[in-house]
Point group: none
Chain length 163, copies 2
DNA sequence: TGCTAATGAGATGTAAAAAG
DNA sequence: CTTTTTACATCTCATTAGCA
């Protein structure tokens, strides 16, 4: 239950960012977010390529790009519980490791259970802050739901709904 | 439960700024290469690299040139919420760090939200100090709107203003 | 002095880790 | 696997401060 009094726990993030420049200490290559080869999803991660050898003490947070997200959601709509093989296929497809994709599916399932999953349909919206709605695919912000809906329809058409 | 933190918890306010890119702090490279105006203060700033390491108590204000502004506004008109990758692309494009461009977009969004996309204070009175209109791209001043419009058309023609 | 780049704090989203 | 927690990344909003 982590009853440590880590409430206070001054986060070292302050010093983190400072000395976070690519140090020379080569940490054991855990191979998490390897710079995917020359797939269609390479652009955004260019700046992270020299981050592949992650820091020992730092958590390596993968930034999933909107393009990758779109594919992931699309596959998720087809099967939210893919087998290991399918998982690896998806991973290769989007250019992420199997582990990352797996975690994403786990988190997305949990998110959906909690009811905060891409409710493209009527009803709930992605409220955030005051009157800001964020598109789940790209990160565009909108002030009203109708605008977000229009954006979703035009830019991220849910073709998987066709039956 | 998600017991949100009511405790002290020193915030990691750095989360927004100085991220892990090759240029964390210092690095007087930020100053954009001034194309035409070779002023003297630039020289003294550049030659102060070493001293800058010790005294970084001063805030480093980047001067964005009209040329850079023009590109920034152009990209902004296409997408006011660029993804990380796009942001870096823009940064490379204009020759500024990603952080600077990011801050510019944040400030510009805030400015736009407040209804002052650029200049022109509240009350919709075009009075800018002394009945002056300022070009959003360069900083040229005009007394009447028609003059500004003409200037905009001739010098900063918005060819792709509409996506 | 006005405009605005930069900073700080609070809030939100979520990838990754820990607990179950 | 699920549920919960942690850490990090980014946003808004308010404020500070640098330069023409």
């Amino acid at each position: 239950m982590v009853s440590h009094l880590n409430n206070i726990q001054i986060k070292n993030t302050l010093s983190d960012q400072s000395n976070n420049t690519f140090n020379s200490s080569m940490a054991p290559i855990k191979q998490s977010t390897k710079p995917m080869s020359e797939t269609s999803f390479e652009g955004q991660r260019a700046s992270r390529e020299f981050e592949e050898e992650h820091r020992r003490d730092k958590r390596q947070r993968t930034t999933i790009t909107p393009e990758q997200l779109e594919v992931l959601y699309q596959r998720y709509s087809l099967d939210s519980n893919p087998t290991r093989g399918v998982l690896e296929s998806i991973a290769r497809d989007v250019g992420l490791t199997r582990r990352v994709v797996q975690v994403w599916f786990q988190n997305t399932r949990a998110r959906e259970r909690k009811g905060q999953f891409r409710s493209v349909g009527p009803g709930s919206s992605f409220t955030l802050g005051l009157n800001h709605l964020r598109c789940p695919f790209c990160r565009a912000l909108f002030k009203v739901k109708s605008a977000l809906d229009a954006h979703m329809r035009s830019r991220h058409w849910p073709r998987s709904a066709i039956g």
